[in-house]
């Protein structure tokens, strides 16, 4: 499931992960550490919503 940042529209895709912040490809959104922040705008994880 992809998740969208409600602040800036960045889409987190588990297939890609966020390697720049140490989140490996294949990591589901739920498994991302709680202190992870949106790589585009810096918003916290609770600003993300499931896509669709």
């Amino acid at each position: 499931m992809r998740y969208v940042c409600s602040i800036c529209g960045y889409v987190y895709d588990p297939a890609d992960g966020d390697p720049d912040s140490g989140v490996a490809a294949g990591t589901s959104f739920d498994d991302i550490p709680a202190d992870w922040a949106c790589p585009v705008c810096g918003a916290s994880k609770d600003n993300f919503e499931p896509e669709g």
Binding site: I7, C8, G9, D20, V40, C41
Partner: protein
């Protein structure tokens, strides 16, 4: 300034800030700036964007030269930052518009800025159209360019894109159009604006440029909220945004430093000599004379970032911390770099700078270089060799 008709029945009605130098408290605008607002006279009269609170009288004077402000039906807020919405409370009282159009996030932002739930907000999203009579306005949300609330307004019948903070420049002038001023000045100012404001959002700029291509807008005028209106050099400024957002580095290096007793400065010059000897162009900045916002455009274009400070109370000098923090926030991509500095006894600065560069995703290509107190000729030769190594790394990555 008096209104300027930029298209039939469409007027520039902003304010020129000739005296401004401190732009938003974080960068220098050495040539002042403008706050552009645009008035469209159709069956509905619409005002796009405003000016800061302290320029509201000038906006009103300009408006009154073409209409009675109370005739305005619609306000369109493309961006909530106070340089474009600060005049809103006073304008709301005078104009009493029927509707205030803004993006969903802008509505929340307007409420958290002005604490007025009662204004007649009308939320619009990407692809929404409103009619002004003969004209349509199409909206495109440009989230995080550079605030989450940012939006473009496009008037297809007039081929006019009102682009908010994108494509702007900080320039106070009596002219209103791109072709009326010196071109190298204009593009330098546009580059500086990009480097200091838009750079972190480069991936979004790429997407936006693709999107604008996709929606197939036929644009013959781009009217930003700061500086001059593009009516002639549209292909060039779009190409520049393409280039800047790609962040493809040039065969250039930036060396910046601060110094107490000039040892680090002498190192900086020898390092620059080494880089230049490899055929790489260098810009050398003492942070005592260069403001961080003047260095940034050079960092944007350079392949290498080389930073130096003597050790001061077990760390780097404050101006280095300022420059590095500022640079890191603007997220330049694909840089290589290295750190250097003179020291007296403990010598932490160069390593600290190197670590900071790394945390800013700069690839370190040489171990931090230190010299104890005053450099000898041999030390300076080592600095030059350090520079040569960086120069060679630049050449390897930018093969002409």
């Amino acid at each position: 300034m008096l209104p300027v008709e930029i298209k039939k029945d469409i007027f520039w009605v902003g304010s020129v800030d000739w005296n401004l130098r401190d732009f938003h408290g974080y960068s220098l605008a050495r040539r002042g700036t403008t706050y552009n607002a645009y008035l469209v006279k159709d069956e509905k009269i619409a005002l796009f964007d405003l000016v800061p609170a302290n320029h509201v009288d000038e906006l009103l004077r300009c408006l009154k030269a073409t209409i009675d402000p109370e005739q305005i039906d619609y306000l369109i807020v493309n961006h909530v930052e106070p340089d474009h919405s600060g005049a809103l409370p006073k304008i709301m009282d005078i104009v009493k518009p029927e509707k205030v159009f803004c993006s969903p996030i802008a509505k929340q932002a307007l409420i958290s800025h002005y604490h007025r739930e009662d204004w007649p907000y009308e939320v619009v999203a990407t692809g929404d159209n409103i009619s002004l009579g003969k004209r349509t306005v199409t909206f495109l949300e440009t989230k995080m360019l550079h605030w989450p609330d940012s939006m473009f307004s496009f008037l297809p019948e007039d081929k006019l894109l009102i682009s908010s903070d994108a494509f702007g420049q900080n320039l106070a002038s009596s002219e209103r159009f791109d072709d009326q001023v010196d071109q190298s000045l204009l593009f330098d100012l546009a580059a500086s604006y990009y480097a200091n404001i838009i750079l972190p959002f480069s991936p979004l700029v790429q997407k936006l440029l693709a999107k604008v291509g996709e929606v197939g807008w036929d644009i013959d005028m781009i009217a930003p909220d700061h500086g001059l209106i593009w009516r002639t050099h549209i292909p060039e400024i779009l190409a520049k945004y393409g280039e800047w957002s790609t962040q493809k580095p040039q065969r250039k290096a930036v060396v910046f430093y601060d110094t107490m007793w000039k040892s680090t400065e002498r190192m900086a010059r020898a390092i620059a000599d080494g880089i230049i000897a490899e055929g790489v162009s260098v810009q050398l900045f003492s942070l005592k004379t260069a403001h961080h916002s003047d260095v940034m455009p050079f960092i944007m274009e350079a392949q290498a970032v080389v930073a130096g400070s003597p050790t001061h109370n077990n760390g780097m000098l404050p101006l280095l911390a300022d420059m590095l923090t500022y640079m890191k926030g603007l997220k330049p991509q694909g840089k290589i770099g290295a750190a250097f500095g003179s020291y007296g006894w403990s010598g932490e600065a160069a390593k600290q700078i190197s670590e900071f560069l790394q945390s800013a995703k700069v690839e370190i290509v040489a171990e931090p270089l230190r010299v104890k107190n005053v450099p000898t000729d041999q030390d300076l030769a080592a600095c030059q060799e350090f520079g040569s190594k960086i120069g060679r790394e630049v050449i390897a990555r930018v093969p002409e």
